[in-house]
């Protein structure tokens, strides 16, 4: 479904409206930023130039490209490594660069496809906090796909549970844990309650084998 | 069915287009001298070459004009050379992978040996060996072997080294000896790398055999036929011999592919 929103796939039926436009129009207007499961950085460009890539394609003037890039690298905390190359960074750092790249042209919508799935739990926790802070700062609407229930509950204001094949929306859960979310919130009963609701919906969606 | 059409139709179209261009070019180029009727055209048309080829194939097999005879001569030197390169190459690859010292001292030289244009040395090898009484097939086979040796060694070394760390570790947990590691893991794993290398080696063996026939005015073999046709200005026979050499290369590649197909079937569908 994420790919359909991004106009990377065509839906077989129904309608999809993104910011009041069709997905294709939204893509052409560069209304969203996409973060993949893997960083997908170009090894022949350093970090700075990787973040600049969408801006080059959009044809922005050089000064503005540099300014935006620096700003977004600062947002993800990677200003120090702007001149390094992707292979010189760890997996978590590379993914942060990829997020900075998605933010660089200031889209109104951020689409993230299991961006932290390949990382270890410790890095992942750090990035979750980071992303949450980012979201609070920019206020950007974000669609986030994940297979991790704690991650979903921690990050979201609304969770859409989709069953495995066939993918159908099983439940839509409002997640009102408040705007302030330190990691400790995962130990609270409210958190656990939402988590178990999600789990229930997932298992309820398919009969047990 | 659709997939087969999808894959072959473009090739057929491209080949047909190339033949068309060839035909048109032949007409244009040969026009000043009287178009396609002449015996020694500058650029023969496809059908002229095809006729000459057919005539060369249909000659009695021991006639000096029989392309089959010449192809067989070249093929035999190429085959012997390839066999030599294969035996030596595999053996050397196994040695290199197992003995560190050999790897560090020998591999760079094997790579460097390829920058020596082996074909350039062909005349010398033929002459030198001729002087000690080795004529005919052996010098040609040796040159073919030198050319086809390199792809076999490098592809085999890459293949023998291809198993992943975890696969090797697994065998270690079974306390497997080095023979088992070789026979159960490295050798089977190397096959998918070896076959592309063998294909290249096979075509190089054919090229080597052909070129080895050039220097001493050999009488038999496709290279000799090329040289003779070039010397006597027999354009059509020249083209026909060239096409025959190409057919030989295609057959040789087909043989290697066939062997690969057999192995794939034995292995259950994948190398």
């Amino acid at each position: 479904m994420l790919r359909a929103i991004a106009d990377l796939e065509r839906p077989t039926g129904g309608t999809l409206v993104v910011n009041g436009m069709t997905p294709e129009l939204a893509r052409r207007q560069r209304a969203y930023g996409y973060v993949f499961q893997a960083p997908a950085l170009y090894p022949w460009r350093n970090v700075e130039r990787n973040v600049m890539l969408p801006l080059e394609i959009m044809g922005l003037p050089r000064a503005e490209r540099r300014e935006r890039t620096q700003r977004n690298l600062q947002l993800v905390g990677l200003s120090d490594v702007a001149r390094r190359f992707p292979w010189q960074l760890s997996g978590g750092m590379q993914q942060r660069v990829s997020i900075a790249r998605a933010l660089s042209f200031e889209p109104s919508l951020l689409l993230m496809d299991e961006p932290f799935g390949a990382l270890d739990e410790i890095t992942r926790d750090g990035l979750n906090v980071h992303l949450h802070e980012l979201w609070r700062t920019t206020g950007m609407t974000t669609v986030f796909v994940t297979h991790s229930i704690p991650e979903a509950v921690y990050l979201s204001t609304r969770i859409v549970v989709i069953s495995p094949r066939p993918g159908r929306i099983v439940d839509v859960i409002d997640c009102d844990l408040g705007a302030e979310r330190p990691l400790e919130i995962r130990d609270t009963p409210a958190f656990a309650a939402i988590g178990s609701r999600v789990r229930h919906a997932l298992h309820g969606g398919t009969p047990h084998a | 069915m659709r997939e087969a059409v999808r894959r072959t139709l473009p090739v057929i179209v491209v080949v047909a287009a190339l033949l068309g261009v060839w035909y048109a070019a032949a007409i244009i180029v040969d026009a000043p001298q009287g178009a396609l009727a002449q015996l020694r055209p500058l650029l023969p048309a496809p059908q002229q070459v095809a006729l000459a080829l057919l005539s060369g194939i249909l000659q009695p097999p021991n006639s000096p004009r029989s392309l089959i005879y010449h192809a067989a001569v070249t093929a035999s030197s190429a085959a012997v050379g390839f066999a030599l390169a294969f035996a030596l190459g595999i053996g050397l690859a196994i040695a290199i992978v197992n003995v560190r010292a050999l790897d560090r001292s020998l591999m760079p030289w094997i790579i460097a040996s390829q920058t020596v244009p082996a074909l350039a040395v062909a005349p010398m090898v033929v002459v030198v060996l001729g002087n000690i009484g080795l004529t005919g097939l052996i010098p040609k086979a040796l040159i073919a072997a030198w050319l086809s040796f390199f792809p076999i060694v490098t592809s085999m070394v890459t293949g023998l080294r291809s198993p992943e760390r975890i696969q090797l570790d697994l065998l270690r947990t079974y306390s497997a000896g080095s023979w088992d590691v070789f026979a159960q893991l490295r050798w089977p794993a190397s096959m998918s790398f070896l076959f592309p290398g063998m294909k290249v080696a096979a075509t190089l063996a054919v090229v080597g055999a052909i070129v080895a026939e050039l220097p001493t005015g050999a009488q038999a073999g496709l290279g000799a036929r090329l040289l003779a046709a070039s010397y006597y200005g027999q354009t059509l026979q020249l083209w026909a011999a060239l096409v025959m050499a190409s057919l030989l290369a295609v057959v040789v590649v087909g043989v290697v592919d066939g062997a690969r197909g057999v192995l794939v079937r034995v292995r259950g569908g994948r190398l």
Binding site: A40 | L119, V200, S246, V250
Partner: protein
Amino acid sequence: MRAAAAPIAFGLIVLGLWQAACMAFQIPRILLPPPTAIAAAFGANLPLLGADFVQTVVRSVLPGFAIGSAAGFIVGLAVDASPFLRRGVLPVASLAGALPIVGIAPIMVMWFGFDWQSKAAVAAVMTFFPMLVNTVAGLEAPGAMERDLLRSYSASPRQTLEKLRLPAALPYVFTALKLNTTLALIGAIVAEFFGTPTVGMGFRISTEAARLDLDVVWAETFVAAITGSALFFGLAYLERIVTFWRPAFQTGTAKEL
């Protein structure tokens, strides 16, 4: 440099053994001259070797290599534009690359005359196909994810080509270029076996071999080997600079910030 120590040592040992064997076993000069004789022949024939070098390498190999590689690259770009063409041309080009292309030498002589043009033509044809195949393969190399990324930026095909596919294709292009140095050299030399003015490395080798003047043949072979190595390693060095980002060349390590 340390990596070079072992092969150099091995080479020196072989050279030493070679020299000793020639002297100890009185191996006839016709069969295998000692390294000293070859060095002497090299020194004695320098002007001749120089002239041959110019004829073969400068006039035939380099132009042929350049033309064939450039043509292969351009046609590769053109073929890449159409999936239909790609499916049709690639198998044909791969097959053509497997054929004994040196055989076209007599035809090239017939068309372009005895001088360097026919030899350059042979070299050009030989270098064309590997470059074509590799260019197309390289342009296809980027994975679906990289392409989706550019699609999400609504990048034009030209931008995709320029920013993603051409850089990604460079390693493949260099592989072909390195292979082509060998092919062009062999093509030019072998083409000279088929007829040439009285200068050129292939010409010298075949005539001197027939006259059993093997010292000169060895010296020419030595020059050919040096040329081939120099071209190959020169390109390898260039490759390292241009495609510094390849995993094979990386020395940097990851550090967590």
